[in-house]
């Protein structure tokens, strides 16, 4: 039963680590722009305040980015797993939609409003 004690210590440590990582990396408020990168290079930034659809071409295929009501979502894609579509809407600073097969990352950033947010806290 001594082994079980070490098991519990490991599990407790990992849960603590998850909590710490969450505190460190959690979204810090409303975002302002959706930044699109394809294969590590920035392909565009779009304010969340303006509704629009963006056709994202990548070597692997396409992703259709829809910005509506202050949130961004991939509504259509021809990747195999559709993880990007199932992620749903993102609107908070730091949230991301990732399409691994197409190497497409859409991240919400605080943009202009960021500095105001920080001083308010």
């Amino acid at each position: 039963m001594k082994q079980l004690r070490y098991d519990l210590i490991l599990i407790a440590l990992l849960l603590l680590l998850s909590a710490a990582a969450w505190l460190l990396l959690r979204p810090r408020g409303e975002g302002a722009v959706a930044v699109v990168t394809v294969d590590g290079a920035e392909a565009g930034r779009y304010p969340l305040s303006e509704d629009r659809t963006v056709w994202i071409e990548s070597p692997g295929g396409y992703n259709l980015l829809t910005i509506a009501g202050g949130a961004a979502a991939v509504t259509e894609a021809d990747c195999g797993d559709h993880t990007c579509v199932r992620t749903g809407e993102i609107r908070l600073d730091g949230q991301s939609i990732i399409c691994l097969p197409h190497k497409v990352v859409i991240t919400v950033e605080g943009g202009e409003a960021d500095g105001v947010d920080l001083s308010a806290h």
């Binding site: 990992l14 991301s96 691994l100």
Partner: protein, 161 residues
Amino acid sequence: METKHLTRLGLLTALALALSWAESTIPLSVSVPGVKLGLPNLVVVFALYRLGRREAWLLSLVRVALVAATFGNAFSLWYSLAGAVLSLLGMTALKAWGRLSPLGVSVAGGVLHNLGQILVAMAVLDSGAVLAFLPMLLLSGTVAGVCVGAAGGILVRRIRL
């Protein structure tokens, strides 16, 4: 390797493959790229304790290759491979250390599996955005590891091959 031994290994590999397929049909945590329950790890942990280190590695790597060839793709191969190798490295080291039971070893394996995948995703995407998924990956790896490890521990104790 004697025939009986080889048969056991083949049987377990088939079981691991079946579990991989089963988990691919469960739409769990689909919003997080790369997250899986890690059901096949059950068989790997069992093999590690019942057959040996070499057999566990062989089984796990053959499973990754077969999954990629049957219902995965060349692309998902690298994620699975990174996860599998990191998880195997950690599990063999921790088993040799001897302080953890199969439950603890399986938990470490689950978390390292997710960690390996997140590292490959960061490299492939050339982006730190994946890090936002780290807390969820750590948590899901731990919880899945506990479930898989509890079941694996029972199997290791009860089943004699």
